[in-house]
């Protein structure tokens, strides 16, 4: 495989990882605050906190990894996206900062504070929205190059139906992924009441998720026809994604195989995300940067790939240890 394909596959996989872990995290924050408002706090908060506490810091790294990686492998993206994303990127950073620090204030500080929980819960909904603008911009039409300077067209972004479809999809998928995971987690913790509440959330958000996906398809066909055609060529990936979704909802509905249900949810998003990604190629930013034109010098590229392999060998056992100790330790999950 050529270097640019290896590079983009690594980065895309990390972004997918971020999509899953961050969704669980963002959704959990929102549910946690929502349950506080509706008086169900004591039912589900314990389950949520037991999951979040040891991993919240790790979630952030997936994102950092992606943006450092993409600038490293494709320095041109720093120039185009950097200039265009000053505002949306600034907003995302602001929200991430509030969320990250207030998680610590709320959970390690001396007492629970409603304000802290509110900030923590609500920012979790806006972060996916602001981050998803990057994907929208990558379709082209929101950046113009004038005399060598990159000009961002925010008005086009705000009035594009495609852009809103993506934001909506980001929001509802976050809630769906998160609820599906927490349903499984509550089941494992043998926490009946929490399980029932979270199962309801998962079923509730499944509908909007699939509607939003259809909407994104339709909006894209009007926004970037080339990309839409490419997607039709690999329609099987999206059909598989749909099948996984139906399977997951079926299992959650009948309250069985909840671990499998969550795996199906992960596969649903994997098929859709990688299908979307591969049909986007070769463009990183339509029509200015392709994976060939933006690639770093080959010596640096190989150094990055080597360091990635070394880093990976270090991370996998550590992540495995983390999961053994917390996520998949029956004793820990049940709070013993």
């Amino acid at each position: 495989m050529e270097m640019e394909l290896i590079a983009i596959t690594i980065l895309w996989t990390f972004l997918y990882g971020y999509l899953i872990v961050a969704s669980i995290d963002f959704g959990a924050g929102f549910f946690s605050y929502y349950s506080m408002l509706t008086g169900k706090e004591h039912t589900i908060n314990q389950v949520i906190n037991r999951y979040l506490s040891p991993v919240w810091e790790v979630t952030n790294v997936f994102l950092v990894f992606f943006f450092v990686g993409i600038v490293g492998f494709f320095p041109d993206t720093a120039y185009y996206y950097g200039t265009a994303l000053l505002l949306p990127g600034g907003v995302a950073l602001l929200l991430l900062s509030i969320r990250g620090s207030f998680y610590a204030f709320a959970n390690y500080g001396a007492r629970k504070s409603r304000t802290y929980m509110f900030l923590y819960g609500m920012t979790g909904l806006f972060i996916p929205a602001s981050l998803s603008t990057v994907l929208t911009i990558s379709e082209g039409g929101f950046i113009r190059e004038v005399e060598g300077d990159v000009v961002f067209l925010p008005w086009n972004l705000l009035t594009s139906s495609y852009s809103w479809a993506v934001v909506f999809l980001a929001l509802v998928s976050v809630l769906f992924i998160s609820a599906a995971f927490l349903t499984y987690y509550a089941h494992k913790a043998e926490d009946g009441p929490a399980f029932e509440v979270l199962r309801q959330y998962a079923l509730f958000w499944s509908g909007p998720t699939i509607l939003a996906s259809v909407w994104v398809f339709m909006a894209l066909s009007r926004h970037n026809m080339t990309h839409f055609q490419n997607m039709l060529d690999i329609a099987w990936a999206f059909l598989l994604s749909l099948a996984c979704f139906l399977g997951a909802v079926y299992l959650i509905w009948w309250r069985k195989g909840l671990g499998w249900a969550f795996i199906l949810v992960m596969l649903q998003f994997a098929f859709a995300f990688f299908g979307y990604g591969s049909s986007h190629l070769p463009y990183l930013l339509y029509p200015y940067i392709t994976i060939q034109s933006g690639l770093t010098h080959s010596d640096m590229g190989w150094a990055l790939i080597l360091s990635f392999i070394a880093g990976f060998l270090l991370l996998v056992p550590s992540l495995f240890l983390l999961m053994r100790l917390f996520l998949f330790s029956a004793r820990y999950v049940r709070g013993k």
């Binding site: 506490s53 040891p54 919240w56 810091e57 790790v58 952030n60 790294v61 994102l63 950092v64 990894f65 943006f67 450092v68 990686g69 600038v71 490293g72 492998f73 320095p75 041109d76 720093a78 120039y79 185009y80 950097g82 200039t83 265009a84 994303l85 000053l86 505002l87 990127g89 600034g90 950073l93 602001l94 991430l96 900062s97 990250g100 620090s101 998680y103 610590a104 204030f105 390690y108 500080g109 001396a110 007492r111 300077d149 990159v150 770093t296 010098h297 010596d299 640096m300 150094a303 990055l304 360091s307 990635f308 880093g311 270090l314 991370l315 550590s318 240890l321 983390l322 100790l325 917390f326």
Partner: protein
């Protein structure tokens, strides 16, 4: 205002805020681990409790450090897109490695926090603190190599404004790397020694005449003296490095205009309109010794550089401040250890006050040192390759962003500090000891 200036202010502000938390993030785990190890070895619950209490405060500071670190990481591309486009080809390796180190640290911090009572052997829990230290110190190392590259770029050739013939490792291990890394690490550790020592001294002054605080103070001051001396040695290496590779920075800091041998070191003073030094203390030969290791060493003067490539002259005060504080830290910790060793009274109120002052002063020294290092690079963003104004974003709204982030940093500082105070105010170590049923 012009986006370049606004971008500079925002970057400076973010970095200045970040390094406070980052320094804590690099240094404090070392002391947590040290306390836990000593506690396990001596079977002394005081030290274990110390590790626990420091960890609890540490989590709050880490959170702020992580979010501001994420900010500066992304801001590099948002505010300096041209810089990242050009330099991304050469410096991505250390940036990338830094995220791995950060990842490693994040994973083990989670484990460390939630396994205090889970292992039968306490040593196993202590072992999980080692990856935290490795991760946090390595991220400091990697990110410092990036900054070192900006000061002494290496590992590429410049052809028609493009970088070719890239050698990633050479770029990472550029001439500035060794002295910079040494100075950054040792100064972070020493700052945390004084932060934790200062807190202990503060409570002793408040009349909490506890074994716990006394033990904490002894431990941090022993480490503090060693580290303060190590920092001075690293600073001396940096001086020699500057004289050889970035002479204009050293010359601007010392108001050294004419190239000459037997150059004096200047303390304090001011410049009159003819750039004559007034009212300063001159230490003969000291600059030559600092720069070249012999009184006879030739130190290059600022006049050798075209006016538009000289850094500003107020660097002198930053440099003086940093060195002065460094000296103070060595003296005060030495004094404390001397009093303890000769069985004089180390709990003398003035001595304790001096140590309390060491904490904010050491943070000030960190800030001054970084300002000196960064402003001393002006007008270059990559010395000799790219000027700052050619690197900045052309986008509007930098001003808006500056305002929003200034507010954010103020809010984070106020809230984090008040959360930290609240965390410890009502529960002194004596109370916690009782709760944990530790009988002494």
């Amino acid at each position: 205002m012009d986006p370049t200036i606004l971008s500079r202010i925002l970057t400076a502000e973010t970095l200045a805020f970040h390094i406070i938390w980052a320094t804590i993030g690099v240094g404090v785990p070392v002391f947590i681990s040290l306390a836990e190890a000593w506690g396990i070895y001596k079977k002394d619950p005081h030290y274990i409790l110390m590790a626990r209490r420091w960890t609890r405060g540490f989590v709050i500071t880490v959170a702020v450090g992580v979010v501001t670190g994420t900010s500066i990481g992304l801001m590099l591309s948002l505010l300096w897109p041209r810089f990242m486009q050009l330099a991304g080809n050469v410096i991505s390796l250390p940036l990338f490695l830094e995220t791995f180190a950060f990842f490693f640290e994040a994973i083990f911090l989670g484990i460390y926090l939630y396994t205090w009572d889970r292992f039968k052997k306490p040593v196993i829990h202590w072992l999980t603190s080692i990856p935290i230290i490795i991760g946090s110190s390595l991220s400091a190392v990697f990110i410092t190599t990036v900054n070192a590259f900006m000061n002494t770029p290496a590992g590429f050739r410049l052809e028609n404004g493009e970088l070719t013939d890239i050698r990633p490792l050479e770029a990472m291990f550029n001439p500035a790397t060794p002295s910079k890394v040494a100075h950054v690490l040792s100064s972070s550790y020493v700052t945390c020694a004084f932060l934790l020592g200062g807190i202990a001294a503060y409570f002793l002054l408040k009349g909490r005449n506890l074994e716990y605080h006394k033990k904490a103070l002894k431990m941090t001051m022993v480490a503090g003296l060693v580290l303060a001396v190590a920092t001075a040695v690293a600073g001396d290496l940096s001086g020699k490095f500057l004289a050889k590779h970035v002479p204009e920075k050293l010359a601007a800091a010392e108001w050294h205009f004419e190239t000459r041998r037997e150059a004096p070191l200047i303390l304090g003073g001011y410049l009159d309109e003819n750039n004559e030094v007034r009212g300063a203390v001159k230490i003969p030969w000291a600059l030559s010794i600092l720069g070249k290791g012999s009184p006879d060493g030739e130190i290059i003067g600022l006049n050798e550089f075209p006016e538009e490539e000289r850094p500003p002259l107020y660097l002198h005060y930053l440099f003086d401040g940093m060195v002065l504080i460094g000296t103070y830290l060595i003296l005060i910790s030495a004094l404390f250890l001397y009093a303890w060793w000769r069985k004089k009274n180390p709990w003398n109120r003035w001595l304790l006050r001096g140590i309390v002052w060491g904490a904010p002063l050491s943070f000030l020294a960190i800030e001054l040192g970084w300002m000196y290092a960064e402003v001393g690079r002006q007008p270059w963003i990559i010395r000799g390759v790219m000027r700052v104004e050619d690197a900045a974003t052309t986008a509007d709204h930098v001003g808006l962003l500056l305002m929003v982030f200034s507010l954010l940093y103020v809010a984070l500082a106020v809230i984090a500090v008040s959360v930290l105070i609240r965390l410890f105010r009502h529960k002194g170590p004596e109370k916690e000891m009782e709760e944990r049923r530790i009988i002494l």
